[in-house]
């Protein structure tokens, strides 16, 4: 229990005191038990008042303070700082909001507002009497990082993390690095090929001895928390003898008798059972599809020294300080029959077209027929009013238009039609849109309520669209190839990854950051960051930007070897706890585990993982869990305090009408008023003059002069010639 409490009730320059009788409240709480000082102040946040508070705390040996002013969002840290400067633990400070939660909303009822303010303040005083001194929790962290996914975002981030002195484990599910960009042979806006970028990044990764790359590897188990995550990896075998001669491996690839549909090319081609995604794929070691070679004993026998079909899966355990998730996206897969996909032979998706273009550099051929016209249908599987994919994939418009320019450049005599909803070639990409129009591409606009239809008309494939740019005229486009511009969706296994790391995911299954503007790459799990398209649709450069942001955050976090975390977390009363496990069930973060203490099973909170959300406290049947600073006693005393009777003397006249006569009982003006008064050098001063003299913003000066005028510190002294500004003088 605190016995020497200081209470400061703020006028906020009239914002509070116009409606709440703060002077009376100050007098009233002065008599309160355990309250040593209670006073009303003009501006609690003014520098002069902060200094007074520090002096009060030290001279009167205060053990807790309450400031009754505005929202804690505005000044919580200001007054925590005051407490710290006075040598008081900042946890012994409580802010009571009597502006946003009292004077402003109740300006019609000043008396009731004063009563409510009294209740709020008493609740605050009661709460602070149960406060206890808390220190930040210091955690030791390991300077190593797991980067999950070796696409362009993960590879680039891994390099930066390694350069900053972290040990990096780059884990890729596929057998080859590069992710989605390896499937694009021309990326906007530079036209550079994805493979080229992958090769450059891989070369750089190899230069860093502190990066370990795992391919064909999945995450099996995640334990621990910030600073010390335990990660279990499962490495699938390649079934290639590590010591085998490169030429022999090459020969085995060539002579392999089994072929299957090639997923990397979306089934447009066949691949062998011993394969690489593409000839230059990295790491430069092929993979054996062991299942397919089961019935080929002759072949296996021939290459017995090259292949190693008995190779076993390997489990590796790592300890890392932090995790960067860059697992990327999947292409939206149209349903059978969606715009004729899979039911009409010349309907493909944009990623498929990109593969076709790379495989047919001279002449664009599909099903043996040369393609002379292409119709793109935009926003397939995206921006759905009904359905989960409400978002826009933001890179597909530009990607399509870039593809269209490539088509014209490579195959010359080809006509493109764009059946779109809106064109979003934002930023510098707009230039591509203009280029495409100029090369003769035709744009027809549809709306979601009247979707285009792809039909077979005899031999021809036609797209029927109500063109919103031609008074909704029904138009018919005959095209050799219909390309569905499919957007991005979350990875199929994003739910699984989310469960492993406890990263929250949205309805769209993309991972969620804490705050899109202020904490854009942080997740609610301390030490786990997200980058690239696993968070939501992005183009290549945006992906790399976000993964590098994550890399910088991680470097900053791990730099000192220790991390301070907020002490407001759950605590278990081991005597009361009977370990029923309910708390561990509801905890979203896995912060609660069972331990045995003196032969008794009790719950244990992992300080590094707990976010202090408080969900475990009310669920506990034994009431054995409480949250620091939000103890049962504290909260109950607040309720008691708020409901207690309040006796307040009524002011004699209405506060609003006697404004003229209000005398400011200030010992001292706020610092800013002093600066303004110092800036008033002449008898008559205009606002711009004062602002210039006192080196303050003109709007700030205007605002404060109005308040100062209201409190009789200054008075208007006419207007200038052009009647643009009031003059002011000291009263």
């Amino acid at each position: 229990m605190k016995e020497r409490i200081g209470v400061y009730i703020c006028h906020c320059g009239g914002n509070i005191s116009d409606y709440v009788d703060v002077e009376e409240l100050g007098k009233m709480f002065h008599k309160e038990e355990n309250v040593v000082i209670a006073k009303d102040v003009m501006f609690a946040c003014a520098d002069s008042n902060q200094k007074d508070m520090v002096r009060d705390i030290q001279e009167n040996k205060l053990d807790a303070i309450v400031v009754c002013s505005c929202s804690p969002k505005l000044h919580l840290h200001t007054f925590r700082g005051v407490a710290a400067r006075a040598g008081l633990n900042p946890s012994n400070y409580v802010q009571v909001n009597i502006r946003e939660q009292c004077s402003w909303p109740h300006s019609d009822h000043p008396r009731e507002a004063t009563v409510k303010a009294a209740g709020l303040i008493r609740a605050g005083i009661n709460r602070v009497s149960f406060s206890e001194s808390l220190e930040d929790i210091q955690l030791t962290v390991k300077k190593s990082v797991l980067v999950l996914g070796a696409g362009v975002a993960g590879m680039k981030a891994a390099i930066d993390l390694a350069k900053s002195g972290n040990e990096v484990f780059l884990v890729e599910k596929d057998y080859f690095v590069g992710g989605r960009i390896a499937q694009k042979d021309s990326l906007f806006t530079t036209g550079q090929s994805g493979k080229q970028i992958v090769a450059l990044l891989y070369e750089e990764i190899k230069k860093h001895s502190n990066i370990t790359v795992f391919t064909g590897t999945t995450i099996e188990k995640v334990s621990g928390s910030l600073g010390n995550f335990g990660i279990d990896l499962k490495v699938k075998p390649r079934y290639i003898n590590g010591k085998a001669d490169k030429q022999a491996v090459k020969r085995a690839m060539e002579e392999c008798p089994v072929s299957v549909s090639d997923d990397f090319n979306f089934g447009l081609t066949q691949r062998k059972a011993i394969y690489k995604n593409y000839p230059e794929a990295l790491p430069d070691v092929p993979v054996v599809d062991a299942e397919l070679l089961k019935d080929q004993p002759d072949f296996v026998a021939k290459f017995a020294s090259t292949l190693n079909l008995n190779e076993q899966e390997e489990t590796i355990s790592l300890i890392v300080g932090s995790v960067l998730v860059t697992t990327g996206y999947d292409n939206y897969q149209p349903k059978e029959g969606e715009f004729g996909y899979k039911t009409i032979d010349n309907v493909v998706t944009l990623p498929e077209l990109n593969r076709m273009m790379e495989l047919n550099p001279e002449k664009l051929v599909h099903n043996g027929k040369q393609i002379n016209s292409v119709a793109f249908i935009y926003c397939v599987g995206n921006r759905q009013k009904k359905g989960d994919n409400k978002y826009c994939s933001r890179q597909c418009c530009t990607s399509t238009i870039h593809t269209s320019l490539q088509l014209k450049e490579r195959y010359k005599d080809i006509q493109m039609y764009h059946v779109y909803r809106d064109i979003r070639t934002y930023g510098k990409q707009e230039i591509l849109y203009a280029k495409s129009s100029k090369q003769g591409d035709l744009y027809l606009k549809y709306e979601e309520k009247e979707m285009p239809v792809v039909e077979k008309d005899g031999k021809a494939t036609v797209v029927k669209v109500k063109d919103y740019l031609t008074a909704k005229k029904e138009m018919e486009i005959e095209a050799d190839l219909v390309v569905l511009v499919t957007g991005m969706v979350a990875r199929e296994d994003s739910t699984h990854i989310s469960e492993l790391f406890k990263i929250p995911i949205g309805r769209d299954k993309f991972f969620n950051e804490i705050h899109p503007k202020l904490k854009p790459v942080e997740t609610v799990i301390k030490g786990v960051y997200i980058g690239g398209t696993c968070q939501g649709p992005k183009n290549v450069s945006e992906s790399v930007q976000s993964s590098l942001a994550g890399a910088s955050k991680i470097t900053a976090l791990l730099k000192s070897g220790t991390v301070a975390v907020d002490p407001i977390i759950a605590r278990v009363d081991r005597e009361a706890c009977t370990w029923c496990g309910k708390c561990a069930d509801v905890c979203d973060y896995g912060a609660l585990k069972v331990i045995e203490v003196d032969g008794k099973k009790v719950a244990q909170v992992n300080d590094a993982v707990c976010t202090g959300c408080g969900i475990c406290a009310p669920i506990c049947p034994e009431n054995a869990i409480e949250i620091a600073q939000y103890t049962d006693n504290g909260i109950e005393s607040m309720i008691d305090g708020f409901l207690a009777d309040v006796q307040i003397k009524e002011k004699e006249a209405n506060a609003g009408e006697e404004q003229e006569e209000v005398k400011v009982g200030m010992k001292e003006y706020p610092q800013i008023w002093k600066e303004i008064l110092a800036g008033m050098t002449d008898e008559k001063n205009s606002i711009p003059q004062i602002a210039e003299n006192s080196k303050l913003n003109r709007e700030v000066v205007t605002y404060h002069l109005m308040t100062m005028n209201r409190y009789g510190v200054v008075v208007p002294a006419g207007m200038d010639d052009k009647e643009m500004y009031f003059y002011y003088k000291r009263k």
Binding site: Q415, Y417, I423, Y433, A434, S437, K438, Q439, G440, D441, L442, Y443, L444, K445, K464, D467, L469, T470, A471, K473, E474, M475, E476, I477, E478
Partner: protein, 348 residues
């Protein structure tokens, strides 16, 4: 259901305009146009029809004629798609569609064809002069006769069928029902448009351009009347003579300004002169000037020693009457007048 036909755009480019593909349908052109109304909005609609290749819709439309090419749309276009130039090209294309002989289209699309026609007519005139032993009196008599006959023939053989075709494309084919009474009551619109082109006054650019056009039309029609019906070159009446001088002077002085602004290219409408535009202004200028000079030489009595001048005048006259009037830009004057008349008929 209409088929998208990107080939139409390729065809239309032969008529002058080639930037309209850059259009991204913002509609600034329509918004900025002072002639476009809620009931009849352009040029965006026409650009849209052109890029999509909706030939039928364009052929049935009178909107290209409703534009007087102030060039505001081209200046304001954020994509520099030159909508004004597209409207001009559509007028050329429509002219080619109305013309049953197909010669209009041939000459618009092919400069060599036009030059061949000019050379052939020049050779024809020379042959005629040679054949008449350079007898000036005979030549001038035939020249006078030629004018009257040419006007009549072109009217009957070319213009009347072409206007009938225009009427068929814009009224009959789209099944617009017009009561006969309206044909009579709307005639006023036709004459006002033909002589005054009052719609052009609503254009955003200056009134000076309208005034120039107005006096040029008056000057041109008066010159035609003076030479054909009053036989200016052989008239004894002083008043007729002076009037002839006046109107021919108007024709060549005003055209100097037109040629000049086409060369300076300051305004959008002057920036993309096609051969057909040059032929029109230059030949009009030459016609006014040579007519003026011929009569001057007659009055100074030096024409006998300068027969070349009349042969030159006759060449210009023949080329004007046989090439530019029936198949060149002159027809715009006629079709525009009828377009306003037909538009009035279509009004509800």
């Amino acid at each position: 259901m209409s088929k998208v036909n990107p080939k139409f755009a390729t065809e239309l480019k032969k008529y002058g305009s080639d930037d309209f593909n850059a259009c991204f349908n913002c509609g600034n052109c329509t918004a900025t146009c002072s002639l476009s109304t809620a009931d009849s909005s352009f040029p965006r609609e026409m650009i849209r029809y052109t890029t999509l290749g909706l030939e039928g819709e364009i052929k049935a439309s009178l909107k290209p004629w409703e534009c007087y090419y102030c060039g505001e749309c081209s200046t304001e276009c954020p994509r520099e798609a030159k909508p004004g130039e597209l409207m001009m090209s559509l007028r050329r294309w429509l002219t080619a569609q109305y013309d049953w002989t197909g010669l209009s289209g041939l000459m618009y699309k092919s400069l060599p064809a036009s030059i061949t026609a000019f050379i052939l007519t020049f050779v024809g005139v020379l042959a005629f002069a040679f054949n008449s032993n350079f007898d000036l009196e005979h030549m001038m008599h035939v020249g006078h006769m030629f004018e009257a006959i040419a006007i009549g023939t072109i009217m009957v053989v070319i213009f009347i069928p072409n206007i009938a075709r225009m009427w068929y494309f814009t009224i009959l084919q789209p099944k617009v029902k017009v009561p006969f009474k309206k044909y009579v009551s709307s005639l006023g619109e036709f004459f006002v448009t033909m002589f005054v082109q009052k719609r052009a006054l609503d254009c955003d650019d200056n009134r000076f351009r309208w005034f120039e056009h107005f006096i040029l039309v008056l000057g041109y029609l008066s010159l035609l009347f003076t030479t054909v019906f009053l036989d200016w070159f052989s008239t004894e009446y002083v008043a007729v003579n002076i009037f002839g001088y006046l109107v021919s002077a108007i024709v060549f002085i005003v055209t100097i300004d037109f040629v000049n602004s086409r060369m300076k290219k300051k305004k959008a409408m002057n920036q993309n002169s096609q051969p057909s535009d040059w032929f029109f202004v230059v030949w009009l200028f030459l016609m006014g000037l040579t007519a003026f000079m011929t009569r001057l030489f007659i009055d100074l009595d030096i024409i006998e020693s300068n027969k070349w001048l009349y042969i030159f005048h006759l060449t210009i006259l023949v080329q004007w009457a046989l090439i530019i009037v029936p198949f060149g830009k002159w027809t715009h004057f006629l079709y525009r007048s009828f377009a306003m008349y037909f538009a009035k008929l279509k009004e509800k």
